[in-house]
Amino acid sequence: MDLTTIFQAVITGVLMAGIYALVAIGLTLIFGVVRIVNFAQGEFVMLGMYVTWWLWKAGGIDPYLSLLITMPVLFVFGVLVQRFLFRPILSAPDMAQIFLTVGLSVVLMNAALFFFTADFRSVKTTYSEWALRVAGITLSVPRIFAFAGALVLAGLLTLFLSKTDIGKALRAVAQDREVSMLLGIDPERMYLLAVGLGAALAGAAGGLIVPFFYVFPTVGVVFVLIAFVVVILGTLGSIQGALLASLIVGVAESLGILFAGADLGLVVVFAILVATLILKPSGLMGQA
C-alpha cells in the first residue's frame, strides 16, 4: 500500500464529510429546537434532489444556481410540515412522534415513486466529471464544490445563530422554551423557522449532491443513516459537533474501506460510534 493510495483515501473521506455534515446539521437543528427526531430528513434531501433535477431538466438551470430556488422551496415545505404535521404532536409521547416522521418518510418516498417512477435520474453538467490531479491524487471537482458549499452554509448558519436577534431567539428556545417565552419570544414561530431551515439545508445538500450522484425515490435512505451516526457522535443538537463528527465519519469510512475491506467501511464508523458512546455517552460535544 503506497502513500498516494492512503492520501487519496483521506482526501476522499474529507470531501464526503461535507455532504454528511449538511444533512446532519439540518437534522440536529430540528432536534435541537423542536425536539423532534426527523426520520424523514433523508426524504427532504431526496425532494431537494428532485427539485434540482427537474429545474435542470425542464428549465436548463445549473444545479448550483438552482440552490437559490431549491432552498426557499424546501424552506416553505419545512414550514408547512411543522405547521400541519409536527405542531399537533409536539406534546405527544416519543413513540407517536417517531411514527409520524417515519410515516412521513414512507409517504414522501412513495409519492416520489408515483410521480417520478423508479428511474434513476442524473444531471449532466460540464463539470460533472472534472477532476484535479495533484501528485497522483485525484480530486473530483463537483465534490470539492459540494464540500465548499457545505462549509459556507454551515458558516452562514453559525453566524446567523450567534449574531442576529432571530438566531439568538432560536437558540434561546432551544435552551429553554418557558424562559424564552418570558422574554417575549414566540416559540411556535421559532419552531417554524427551525424546521424550515432544517429542510432548506437538506434541500441544499440535495442540490450539491446532484452533480455527482443519482436521483431516485429511495436515495434519502443512503444519506440519512450516516446523518444519524454523525448527529449522535457529535452530540444531538450541536452544529460544531456535527461538523467534527462528519469529518471523523467520512475519513473513517474511507480508510476503513482501504484497510479493513470494502464492505467494512461502515463497520469502522459504527465501531467508533460505539466506542465514543461508551467513553462519552452524550457524544463528542456533550458533558462527560
Binding site: M1, D2, T5, Q8, A9, T12, G13, L15, M16, I19, N110, L113, T117, A118, D119, F120, S122, E129, A131, T138, S140, R143, I209, F212, F213, Y214, F216, P217, T218, V221, V222, F223, I226, E253, S254, I257, L258, G261, A262, D263, G265, L266
Partner: protein, 419 residues
C-alpha cells in the same frame, strides 16, 4: 341532523321507486351475463405476477411488469387459451416491495384464495426462494427467472426455472475472459455484499483461478455507498488487467465513473444486472462503451422471434427490453403454452403440463439456446448465459460463437485515449 335531512329531502318517493326498479333490472342483466360466462366457458385464467415495483429493486421490477403486460396482451389478442374456449389470461400483480417478508405475505395472499392457476415472478433469488416455498405448500406451479442453484435443487415439484443457474455465469465469464485475454492476467473481483453478489462471485473467483488468472483482489462491498472513490482507489492499487464487478445500479454507475476519473484501465467484464439496463448507457454515454457483461438474456438473442418482440417492447415503453424483463416476457408464454396443453385451470394439471414443456419455436422459446425444456428438477436444461458488450450505444451479444451477433472489441482503449 340538519345535514341528513337536507340530503334526504330532494329524493321524492317516485324517484326512489324509479331508481329501485332500474337497480333491479340492472341486477337481473348482470346475473344473466354471469351465468352465461360460467356456461360458455369464456373463463379467465388467474396468474399471480410477483415483482418488486417499489423499494430498492423497483426499477428492475417495473421493467419486468411492463414486459409481462406486453406478453399477456399478446397472448389474449391471439385468442387467449384456445383449449379453454379462448379464456383470457388475467394477471394479478403483487408488489413484493423488495422485501422477502413482504414476498411471503403477498404469495400467501394470492395463493390462499384458491383461484390461482399458476404464478410467475421475481428475478431476485432471495425473494423467489421464499415465494416458491409458499407455492410448493399451496401446490401452485411457479415459473421464475431467478438464478440461484438452490431453487431447483431442493426437490420441489412446483418450481420451474427458465434461466441459467448462478454458477454458470462465472464459468461463462471466465471462459470468455480466457479466450479474450489469454492466461496469466491479473484479475480484480469486487461484488456487492448481499445474496446476489456473494453467490455469483464465488463462481467468478473459482473460475478465475481455473483459467490461470492471478486474483489480485477479491472483495465484497456495500452497495449503498455515496462515493466509489475509496473502492476504486483500492482497485487501482491492485493494478488489475481485468476487472470483474458484480453490482446493482447506482454502484455500477459510480464505479465506472470513478474508474474514468482515477484513470484505472482494465478490461471490465461485469456480472450483469446494473450493467445491462438502459440507465447504464443513458447515464454514462460514451463511457459505457466497451464494457462487457454476462447476462441470462439479451434483446439480440439469436432466435427468430426476438427482433419482433424487442421492437414491440421498445416502441411501447421507449427503452430496450432488458435481461430480466425479457425473461419475464418469455415466462408468460411458457405458462400460456402449458395451460393450453393442460386444457385446464387446475394448478396440478398445469404443473404436469409444465413439466412436459418442450418449446422449440414461438415467443415462449426465446431464451439463449432458443429452446425451453425442463429437466426432472424443473430447470430449463437448454439454456446458457451469454456475453454482451456495449458497442456504439447498443448492447450486443459477442460470445459464445453460436449466439454472437458481432465481434468483441478488444483490447479496450485507455480512458485518456478515447475520442
Amino acid at each position: 341532523m340538519q345535514k341528513g335531512r337536507r340530503f334526504r329531502d330532494p329524493v321524492s318517493r317516485r324517484e326512489f321507486l324509479k331508481g329501485a326498479a332500474a337497480l333491479g333490472v340492472g341486477a337481473g342483466v348482470a346475473g344473466l351475463s354471469l351465468q352465461e360466462a360460467a356456461g360458455a366457458a369464456a373463463k379467465e385464467v388467474n396468474i399471480g405476477v410477483l415483482y418488486p415495483t417499489s423499494g430498492s429493486q423497483a426499477r428492475f421490477g417495473q421493467m419486468c411488469v411492463n414486459a409481462v403486460k406486453l406478453a399477456v396482451e399478446e397472448v389474449n389478442a391471439a385468442g387467449g387459451i384456445k383449449s379453454l374456449g379462448g379464456a383470457k389470461i388475467n394477471p394479478i400483480y403483487a408488489d413484493i416491495q423488495s422485501d422477502p417478508g413482504v414476498t411471503r405475505n403477498q404469495a400467501e395472499r394470492l395463493m390462499a384464495t384458491g383461484n390461482l392457476t399458476a404464478a410467475t415472478g421475481s428475478y431476485v433469488s432471495t425473494y423467489t426462494l421464499v415465494a416458491t416455498e409458499v407455492a410448493e405448500r399451496y401446490k401452485i406451479p411457479y415459473v421464475t427467472g431467478s438464478i440461484a442453484n438452490k431453487l431447483t435443487e431442493r426437490g420441489f415439484k412446483f418450481t420451474f426455472q427458465v434461466s441459467p443457474k448462478a454458477n454458470m455465469f462465472g464459468e461463462m465469464q471466465m471462459e470468455f475472459a480466457g479466450t479474450l485475454a489469454g492466461r496469466g492476467k491479473r484479475a480484480a473481483v469486487v461484488f456487492e455484499d448481499t445474496d446476489y453478489g456473494t453467490s455469483t462471485s464465488k463462481g467468478v473467483i473459482d473460475g478465475a483461478k481455473k483459467v490461470g488468472f492471478e486474483v489480485v483482489m477479491a472483495e465484497p462491498y456495500t452497495a449503498k455507498f455515496t462515493d466509489a472513490t475509496p473502492l476504486v482507489n483500492k482497485i487501482k492499487a491492485s493494478k488489475p488487467d481485468l476487472f470483474f464487478p458484480v453490482s446493482y445500479i447506482t454502484d455500477a454507475l459510480l464505479i465506472i465513473r470513478t474508474m474514468k476519473q482515477l484513470n484505472v484501465n482494465a478490461g471490465i467484464i461485469a456480472g450483469g444486472a446494473g450493467y445491462l439496463i438502459p440507465d447504464f448507457y443513458k447515464d454514462l454515454g460514451k463511457d459505457a462503451e466497451y464494457v462487457f457483461s454476462v447476462g441470462s438474456w439479451n434483446y439480440d438473442v439469436n432466435c427468430a422471434e426476438v427482433p419482433k418482440i424487442a421492437e414491440a417492447y421498445e416502441k411501447r415503453y421507449g427503452e430496450f427490453l432488458m435481461e430480466h424483463a425479457g425473461e419475464a416476457y418469455v415466462m408468460i408464454w411458457v405458462l400460456a403454452d402449458a395451460i393450453q396443453r393442460a386444457a385446464s385451470t387446475d394448478p396440478l394439471k398445469v404443473r404436469d403440463a409444465l413439466a412436459k414443456t418442450n418449446l422449440t419455436k414461438g415467443p415462449g422459446s426465446v431464451m439463449p439456446g432458443c429452446r425451453v425444456e425442463f429437466d426432472e428438477t424443473g430447470w430449463n436444461k437448454r439454456v446458457h448465459p451469454v456475453m454482451v458488450q456495449w458497442q456504439k450505444g447498443q448492447l450486443r451479444t459477442v460470445y459464445p460463437a453460436s449466439d454472437a451477433r458481432v465481434k468483441p472489441v478488444w483490447p479496450v482503449p485507455a480512458w485518456d485515449k478515447r475520442g
